[in-house]
Symmetry: C2
DNA sequence: GTCTATAGGTGGATAGAC
DNA sequence: GTCTATCCACCTATAGAC
């Protein structure tokens, strides 16, 4: 794993910019100004912007998978796991931005082809994980829903992604908080 | 109402580009190439890009409001009204793009300040309309849910927006179709 | 690994002829 | 109302000194 400090600073800055201004809303100049180096130095770490964007999504995906594992090892109840999952999005909202994958999904028509498989994989991984939680929760009698676990997982993820979008645009965190409660209440 | 033909061509082209590539993913050059005029001619109709973007959202909002009225006058059942509402998003998905308001919401950090009130208004108008449908549907015994009608309206809209995002990114219309079924089934 | 300098292209926008 | 021509700022990217 590459742990170069400057490289990480670049990725951190780029991620924050991408999540707030959009896939085409930031430049090497923005990153350079934010972390106090020159544009050319960024090109040393990421020759092209596509390289940077690809790494950005890969890192984001990997980070989320680590979070999912962390949830699994720290809480065992299905309701608690869903709450913890939703909490990850609240953290994003608190930074006044949306999910990086949601952002890239919104600009999919401008995305380099090489990036699309990772984006699709991101959503599939999350639906898969949520499906497992839904299935286990129903078996244990902790969750109650009709239809397939996968359909519930899809609906849950879609609502969180869309809710993040709306709450962030409206500058209203309460909207998202209430949404989380509504979604969980529907599963009881 | 301004019905200049060239002006409308510009708006149509700009909207399609904005909905597929993102708020910062298209230029006057793209529009000019698509409709066969020069960049300078576009500036005659929309002096600045902010003017164009503002008009784009206003037109989109007005168009949606007209659709909502059309739904009200053509079907009276709450379930049918929600189905027709969801169908509007399916039409968007069929054009391989997401909701213009969802797109602008995703790039809210790059949005000109003057545009934000219209964006917030868009979501509020939709939640308000959906809340009316939810309320009426519950009173009539057509819909069944716990919690407030407004919370249900918010969750319904959020799921459609997020579902559109995911289905479009994954290039999988079936995901969205199933989502619509799941959402409606939850309300019965 | 970071810098200066610069290339080559495109962004939005304007002036003025027709 | 559309055009040609042009401006300047900014974009990604590269070459080469330190």
């Amino acid at each position: 794993m590459n742990t170069n400090p400057t490289r990480d600073l670049i990725l951190d800055s780029a991620q924050a910019l991408a999540q707030t201004r959009g896939f085409n809303g930031f430049s090497y100049a923005d990153i350079a100004a934010e972390i106090g180096i020159r544009k050319a130095s960024i090109h040393h770490h990421f020759p092209t912007k596509h390289d940077l964007e690809t790494e950005l999504l890969e890192r984001y995906r990997a980070g989320f998978i680590a979070e999912l594992k962390s949830i699994e090892s720290s809480v065992s109840g299905s309701v608690e796991r869903l709450q913890r999952y939703a909490q990850l999005y609240t953290n994003t909202l608190n930074s006044h931005c949306i999910c990086l994958a949601g952002m890239m999904a919104s600009d999919v028509g401008a995305l380099p082809e090489q990036l699309k498989p990772s984006l699709v994989a991101f959503f599939k991984e999350h639906v898969e994980w949520l499906t497992k939680v839904m299935t286990a929760g129903k078996s244990a009698g902790e969750l109650n829903f009709t239809g397939s676990a996968q359909a519930q997982a899809n609906a849950f993820l879609a609502a969180l992604q869309g809710g993040l979008l709306m709450a962030n645009a409206m500058g209203d965190e309460a909207v998202f908080k209430k949404l989380k409660q509504t979604l969980l209440a529907q599963l009881k």
